[in-house]
């Protein structure tokens, strides 16, 4: 193996690793705040990527229908759940969030979907479709189980994963899609080319990591999320709504998933069920961090990306196996030395 190949593989690994890191962050965040091991994380990747791909050839993605259905369902459930406490203000808020918002997105997409639309606008439109699905999904599937055990929540997560993959097949069909890069800027460093896609991945990952850090370190909302993770009863006692924190966690999860999906579209053909495998690699990284540490997750994600790149170069048919084998020693080590993660309080 010569030096250039080595550099190529490292670059490839770093690019993929950055994506896995974003997904790993989302998994850590969702678990810390809601105790849900969020198997469907990858579905947001597929939904985001495919929605973006359809928008970039000027088609109207049928995910906008799904958004409407999710929005209405979550609104109805929430109104029913709070029927005794309903005030005019909370009623208007529910209608605005669950019905007006998806309707607005719906019509915006119909107005703006054009083959020559700018990639950046399509990026934003994709986020407008996929991001609200996160909180809707939380309300529909998980909020009623807020006090359930980690195992029950995991089972619910598997159920949501299966139904989202099924819906993905219905809405996107069985064909895979690709999409253009967000930026055409590219340059060569020595002999190593940096494409628009690689640059976009690095820039977006760094920006998001910094943004998340500031959110959790500086804002009251971000601190409230950390507080929910640190002590759920304590959080409730200071007036933080655990359900509200859950919704924000899910919004960040769908946000990070959709962005990851858009970022991988230029180099990966994405099918309706591609998300799972990608999400699973983020999961491997998150497990290294015991579903609790963002820095360890980031480092592990980069390592997963690089190992995967080398594995696909040397033994491409075993690439997935090699990556997922990584989890075995970690689980062994964790089960032997780590303290038991506390079940409920």
């Amino acid at each position: 193996m010569d030096g250039l190949i080595l550099l190529f593989l490292l670059q490839d690994g770093l690019t993929n690793g950055a994506i896995y890191a974003l997904l790993g962050f989302a998994l850590v965040l969702v678990f810390a705040v809601t105790r849900i091991i969020f198997i469907p994380q990858g579905e947001f990747v597929a939904y985001g990527g495919l929605t973006f791909a359809l928008l970039s050839i000027g088609k109207i993605p049928s995910t906008i229908w799904l958004l409407l259905v999710f929005g209405i369902a979550s609104c109805v459930i929430q109104l029913w759940r709070t029927r005794y406490l309903l005030t005019l203000r909370s009623f208007i808020r529910e209608i605005a969030g669950g019905i007006a918002l998806p309707l607005a997105v719906f019509f915006l997409i119909r107005m703006l979907a054009r083959p020559d639309q700018s990639a950046w606008l399509n990026f934003l439109l994709t986020l407008a479709i996929v991001v609200p699905m996160g909180p809707y999904l939380y309300r529909i599937a998980f909020q009623p189980l807020a006090n359930a055990s980690v195992l029950t929540l995991l089972i619910a997560a598997v159920g949501v994963h299966l139904s989202m993959v099924g819906l993905g097949l219905v809405f996107f069909g069985p064909e895979g899609l690709r999409a253009p890069t967000l930026t055409d800027i590219s340059f060569t460093l020595g002999k190593l080319p940096f494409t628009g896609q690689t640059i976009a991945v690095y820039a977006v990952t760094l920006a998001l990591t910094g943004g998340l850090y500031l959110f959790f370190d500086r804002t009251l909302r971000g601190k409230a999320l950390r507080a929910t993770a640190a002590n759920r009863l304590g959080a409730r006692l200071v007036g933080i709504s655990v359900a509200g924190s859950g919704q924000i966690a899910f919004a960040l999860s769908s946000f990070l998933g959709a962005i990851s999906g858009i970022l991988i579209m230029p180099v990966t053909t994405v099918y309706y069920d591609t998300g799972f495998l990608i999400g699973l690699k983020g999961f491997v990284a998150a497990i290294f961090g015991a579903l609790a540490s963002y820095p360890i997750t980031a480092v592990a994600a980069i390592a997963v990306g690089i190992i995967e790149a080398f594995a696909s170069f040397h033994a491409s048919s075993y690439k997935e196996v090699i990556v997922f084998m990584l989890i075995v020693p970690v689980l062994l080590w964790r089960s032997l030395y780590a303290p038991q993660i506390e079940e409920d309080e």
């Binding site: 005794y84 406490l85 009251l220 601190k223 409230a224 950390r226 507080a227 640190a230 002590n231 009863l233 304590g234 959080a235 409730r236 006692l237 200071v238 007036g239 933080i240 709504s241």
Partner: protein, 238 residues
Amino acid sequence: MSTPLLSIADYSIAYGTVEAVHDIALNIGDSEIVTVIGANGAGKSTLLNALMGVLPAAGQVRFAGDDIARLEVEQRVELGMCLVPEKRELFASMTVEDNLLLGGYRVSADRRRRGMDDVFRRFPRLNERRRQLAGTLSGGERQMLAMGRALMSSPRLLMLDEPSLGLAPKIVAEIFRIITELRDSGVSILLVEQNARAALRIADRAYMMELGLFTLEGRAGDLIGDARIAESYLGISE
């Protein structure tokens, strides 16, 4: 008499099918310290948790005249109720300052800033430790932080579950002094204690709880005589 700040009637609380508190009634007025004393396992913590909305309860409960039976915890906080639970439930992995900030989660940024100054004035110790993680504090400091965090929400009714538990006598005296100060500044206090004598000394009125029932109620001064008998048979020693 004006409407009491908090009033409950026919109030029962069950864990599953086992009822822990049976059909009790209680009133708390403005600027009043009311204490509920009783032996370990009497149901005092159960009562406070239910009043805060952490546990489900049956019966009537009114706060400032409004029926709050169906309200969530966060809505009760918004109305001005606040609980310092027996286990404190601090955010151990966060700084003292962040714990306090979050205590004011439901109030305006301006109120939060003023609340923080007020807490640091009452508990200068917390100011010295503001950048320290809550999990590294001593028992007394943790209790001060729990009370400070509760005060950040500008409560009208502060419920304290065994604030003296596990603390050195000097710190207990300090905490009790601050409780009376709070009452004098217009906060109503519902104080739950096993340390009956200390609680009765600062309280205006008292209820004695045994096996989920109020067996005695009256002015705290009148109960001190009674309490001595009670203490001997509750087996509480100071």
